[in-house]
Amino acid sequence: MYNQTEIIKDTTDLGPEGELVINMGPQHPATHGVLHLVVTLNGETIKKIEPHLGYIHRSIEKMCESLTYRQFIYVTSRMDYLSSHINNLGCALLIEKGMQIEVPERAKYIRVILSELTRIASHELWLGAMAMDLGAFTPFFYTFREREMITEIMEETCGARLTMNYIVPGGVMYDIHPNFQKKVKAFIKQFKEKVTEFEDLVTNNVIFQSRTKGIGILSAEDAISFGCTGPVARASGVRCDIRKLYPYDVYDKVEFDEVIETAGDSFARYIVRVKEMNQSIRIIEQLIDSIPEGDFVGKTKNVLKLPKGEFYTRVETARGEFGVFIVSEGGTNPYRIKFRSPGFSNLSALNHMAAGSKIGDLMATMGTLDLVIPDIDR
């Protein structure tokens, strides 16, 4: 029997003539978008990975400077499109904080429930795509079946399946659909029944385990120094859940566990995301029956003007910490906007994680980083 650790830690240097440079992407199907990785190989061992960005740069930060505070929220849906609702929430929270707008309880509950549904949908898509990267095509359809239920709920309540733009400063755009609670409960019921299918198909699969266990190890110190957040850092044992550390909306009223794993390898990151889905279900279950009556949007002025100064808020998206920083001159448009996107910092750790391993393991390492390229490029 082979010894796995010996094989993945092959560092024999073949010298400059043994070097091979491979361009992975920007049209590679396993990079989930237009990410261009310049991989320097030493035989089959990765020496260095250099991500080249800019293929989907849309200058969103600059674009936001010409839009009003009501208008720029929709643009952030186009960054991390899998957790667009949470991105919108981050921007709305900042405006509410800056202008001291009171948000009705009902709106807060709706926002949190939809955020958690978005998180589940994002993790489901990741799970299917990740299994597909490793050569298993079937889980993709199974995860999309549950994700379809969420997108249907979104379609009915928010009016769109992916880029919802449902959140406005002061609350939500319109009230939830009458079927909302019934459909969410039906989803929870089905999810709980079918989540065992993923474990049969993926988690307990020997091929999947041997391809992810011990691959792409990231220590807690490195996770902090690279600025990794979200499931990537939590799999390395770093407490970084914004929902726990700086609770917003009604996260301080609900009970849930921050999922922490200590192994720091690809399999730990996988386990963190699967467990996080169960925690999200737990949060929704606590809130869905107790949505208070009342307004769904607070009283706001017609034209929003942030007071002069600098503002920062952060929210926990499916990928990690999403931060919005606005410098305001007191006008109707922001003077400068900076987004702190989780994907960019997580990508920066890729070279450290994959150097020294085989090129076949790069897919497992990169897949568990859960990269969304428009989020990295903006």
């Binding site: 029997m1 839009l67 009501r70 208008q71 720029f72 929709y74 643009v75 079937t138 079946r145 379809e148 249907e152 379609e155 009915e156 309540t157 928010c158 009016g159 769109a160 880029t163 733009n165 406005v168 755009m173 319109y174 659909h177 299918e197 049969d200 198909l201 307990n204 699969n205 020997v206 091929i207």
Partner: protein
């Protein structure tokens, strides 16, 4: 020792594969639980959510009257210049001039379906409808004029 590990590896591999195969085999034998929709063939029975944001329209009543006053609130609310309101001055029977819309030009090709114009409209003159098959061969066909020809503003809307 080597043989034992080898056999247990093979055993584990085969059982975990069979476990997965049982799951997929179950759905193979129960086709009713599969939820795939055969989209272009099921157009007649396809039901979309009523709130689905597909396109902006201006509802007209049976007298060919709409509720748009030409206040340009939608034009100001739109983040990407999708809506352009062209106004004119109507002369009322009393001889006074009254502002009215000549055309509400809507560029569907620029629209991101963010719904901000519908929220901004003070007289509920425009709304989103769940039509979604917008592909055409010529881009100019996506520039639409939302008010119908010879339509007028409804009585009592200021």
């Amino acid at each position: 020792m080597f043989l034992k590990e080898y056999i247990s590896d093979v055993y584990n591999g085969v059982t975990s594969l069979l476990k997965g195969m049982r799951k997929t085999g179950y759905y193979f034998l129960h086709p009713k639980e599969i939820i795939t929709e055969q989209y272009p063939d099921n157009r007649a029975t396809l039901v979309l959510a009523e709130r689905f944001k597909g396109e902006v329209v201006m509802p007209h009543d049976q007298n060919n009257e709409h509720a748009c006053t030409g206040c340009t609130a939608c034009e100001l609310a739109c983040p990407n210049g999708t809506i352009k309101v062209v106004t004119k001055f109507d002369v009322t029977p009393e001889g006074k001039k009254k502002k009215a819309i000549d055309a509400l030009v809507y560029h569907l090709e620029l629209c991101t379906m963010c719904n901000l114009c519908v929220v901004a409209c003070p007289s509920d003159a425009i709304k989103m409808v769940p039509t979604f098959e917008h592909s055409v061969f010529d881009r100019s066909k996506l520039t639409k004029i939302l008010n119908k020809p010879a339509s007028k503003i409804r009585e009592g809307i200021e």
